[in-house]
Symmetry: C2
Subunit: 486 residues, 2 copies
């Protein structure tokens, strides 16, 4: 698990951080947040918050918020069915997850199309294959060929059998989240108590910005909280759209919304692991479309990092872009997003592989390309040693002014591991590249995902557990899965 | 002129920085540098260095080096013919220059081809057009249709008439550098004394790593130094090729080579403005080809920043890539290089626009694409304010939980300038993008450079000065220009 030892880039001084905190507290005290969940409001009322009698508005005073938020751990583990893949979120750990929730997917052969189960499985396999993807986030593409009432059953079954990494479950109603907990419990071969004893899975919720937490976004985390399972709280605060056009204002609103939820969850389960999620970015003011990897995204994410550290909470951000194909724009937007994550001290990078079109499409090729750049970051984060061997005075003396270092023993002893070897970049010279067909980056990635998928082997699972999981899915399908109105 | 207010990323602690300094001093004391220039060796001998009687080797002790280097200013101005375009190099200023010295150029219409004067002029016009390019570096492409004996005359004439920015001159023999100084003096309408009184131009030299400074690389800077003109000293220390395979070792060698030259120049002109140049990167160990924008490049550049600050010298680095076309690989390598420059506190980013193929090709399209990302960096570097207006509490209250910020007065007052508007990125949704022809990034850049060139107007120049410049070029051509052996 990579550790990011760089000091984070901090655009704001301490006074400005306090000003954002103070503003967020004023939002919670003077404006309040809509909690669209009766039980949630009752809990908050009992905890001393000001619950409106004729609306969903809840106001919290800063002492309550700070006291509750302080109960959340600065870092925590999540243990999936393969305990060797336990992840630690927080501190200086930096983890990466796959693109989550796009309705469409694309590859160079078949073009762009709505997601289906087969594509979903493909992208889950890529999630499993790459070691730099530490957790399975949301569905890497929404499989719309499965009816929504049972989609969560098939998808989680695939996730739990095709990967052995930590999985995410959507908070979309009681049945889906309860089913998910049960399936993760079964897959881990756990008793209820064992499941409840520590984080085994997670959800990510978006507040309905501005200032609103809808029923499902509250209900799922409440159910998870009661069984000790963590929630990433990610307000959807795009500057100029659902939040102020100014970055400090948007991060202030993001902070208010995130802390409202985090404080609430602590009243249910004191000490519950949670993550402060940042999704603040700007929009294209001519169309309202979100933009990512922008200068504004960099600063918003860095400031979010300052706020996360102020509250001693782990930070989630994203590696995202607005581009419509895996070309140069996609690459620089994603590279700048990655930089935002590294320089902000982000602990968990959501959407780190495969994201295109502001999140509306998962690209097979971009998934592979992103993994190459993530691995570059992981190499970047490896600690450096400066000692006599690394300083290589003797090698410089040996080679002298008329030699080169290609054949020096100092080089030969190290050259195989000295540098990161990218698997997608083509470092041939122009003539060799041209002779080989002038293949551009996405075409190279295309070849690679096909090879990965053709050779994919699912991680092992105890046959009895697999049968129990299958039986559960079958039973719940017979029962109709989760209710829908269509 | 942008200022980079981020604290630089420092991978090494103070002890490790001292270890690199100490190692570099040992290289200069115990191994020495080849100075392939008789007069240079005489000067260094008189200054107390140990000059070999039967080789070109010069050894310097650390007291001499440190004393000389200390004379160089931490920052300095260069004043081109348009004094409004005076640049300041050092401190927290961050400036950008065009790609320099590739033998080939390419565009989507004509493909890749050897450089000629017409392409050279095109790229010089782009250098002038973009405000984010603060200085004209070396030739943006080598115009091989002009005979080398007179190439410098035509190229500098074009540079001085098509731009009014600070220009670079190659240190390739006495005639070329003397001609360049004379032409810059004429273009500025300056007397000799006025020219000599302050920096008006610059050169960049590469040591012939390992441990060698060849005749031309010494002779040009010596001539410039005597007239107070600055040199950027950039060792060519690719890890595993011309320098140790280990990054600390390569930066140590880079430091030894750079300081040898800088110390030497200070003995000629105490207080001469100089720049510590970093070009340390890794190579593809299978082919020996240089790689850029790699994890190793990031760290090497950041450590170079630490060394530059240790000696209180301005830092030059590069925004480079190894890719053969302006695709995703080119974009992420260049984005990571830019990040290396920003996070290292680089003062002057050489090769910042147009670079492809490890420096062997200048791409018209990439030039334009790079300028868009540089401008993003410039927006990123703008200082942030956190006050009541920016925190937007009242706007959040006004919009409330059921509104959005698109129509809020707080948004309307700011939306036109709140965010950087990229000129190359396409932020349309997929359907609109597809309907418009699914145009990828390089095609958009292609359209833009054509428009820029078709509308280009050269900056004004006094007619008498222009005639004087033309007459000088004519005279020097009649005299045969610079001697060549072909």
């Amino acid at each position: 698990m990579p550790r990011n030892s760089d000091l984070p880039t901090e655009p704001l001084d301490e006074e400005a951080v306090h000003a954002i905190h103070n503003g967020a507290m004023r939002v919670l005290e003077e404006i309040g947040i809509e909690f669209l969940h009766d039980e949630a409001r009752q809990i908050l009322g009992k905890a001393g918050c000001t619950v409106s009698a004729d609306s969903s508005n809840v106001r919290m005073d800063r002492d309550f918020v700070v006291e509750q938020v302080r109960k959340a751990p600065a870092k925590f583990d999540i243990t999936p069915r393969n305990v060797d893949r336990t992840v630690c979120i927080g501190g200086n750990r930096m983890l990466f997850g796959n693109v989550s929730s796009p309705p469409n997917c694309s590859d160079l052969d078949r073009g762009r199309r709505p997601g289906d189960r087969s594509s979903y499985q493909d992208l889950v396999k890529l999630t499993q294959y790459f070691n730099c993807i530490h957790m399975k986030g949301g569905y890497p593409v929404e499989p719309v060929d499965i009816h929504p009432s049972i989609r969560h059953l098939d998808c989680l079954f695939d996730a739990l059998t095709l990967t052995d990494k930590t999985v995410h479950a959507y908070s979309l109603g009681k049945e889906r989240i309860e089913d998910a907990m049960e399936m993760v419990r079964i897959a881990g071969g756990l008793t209820d108590d064992e499941f409840n004893a520590r984080p085994r899975m997670f959800t990510n919720i978006n507040s309905s910005s501005p200032l609103k937490l809808d029923f499902n976004m509250l209900d799922g985390p409440m159910r998870l909280a009661r069984r000790g399972q963590p929630t990433i709280v990610t307000p959807f605060t795009l500057c100029g759209a659902m939040a102020p056009v100014t970055i400090p204002g948007a991060v202030m609103q993001q902070t208010a919304e995130a802390l409202a939820m985090i404080a609430f969850l602590q009243t249910i389960k004191p000490g519950l692991p949670v993550v402060y999620g940042s999704f603040t970015s700007n929009v294209d003011m001519s169309s309202g479309a979100p933009a990512f990897g922008t200068p504004e995204y960099l600063r918003a994410t860095q400031i979010s990092g300052q706020m996360a550290r102020f509250y001693d909470l782990p930070l989630r951000a994203s590696s995202a872009c607005a581009a419509n194909c895996p070309d140069a724009q996609a690459a620089w937007e994603s590279a700048f997003s990655l930089w935002a994550c590294v320089s902000s001290g982000t602990n968990f990078v959501y959407h780190a592989a495969g994201w295109l079109e502001g999140g509306l499409c998962a690209s097979y090729e971009k998934f592979v390309m992103d993994c190459d750049t993530i691995q570059q970051m992981m190499k970047y984060m490896q600690p450096m040693t400066v000692d006599a061997d690394e300083l290589a005075f003797d090698a410089i003396k040996e080679v002298g002014p008329d030699g080169n270092f290609f054949g020096a023993s100092h080089t030969l002893e190290r050259y195989e591991t000295a540098f990161y070897s990218p698997f997608i970049s083509d470092w041939n010279n122009f003539e060799a590249w041209q002779e080989a067909g002038a293949v551009q980056t996405p075409e190279r990635a295309n070849k690679m995902w096909k090879q990965i998928l053709s050779e994919f082997e699912a991680p092992s699972m105890d046959e009895a557990i697999r049968e129990e999981l299958e039986a559960f899915v079958e039973l719940r399908k017979e029962q109709g899965g989760a209710p829908t109105d269509f």
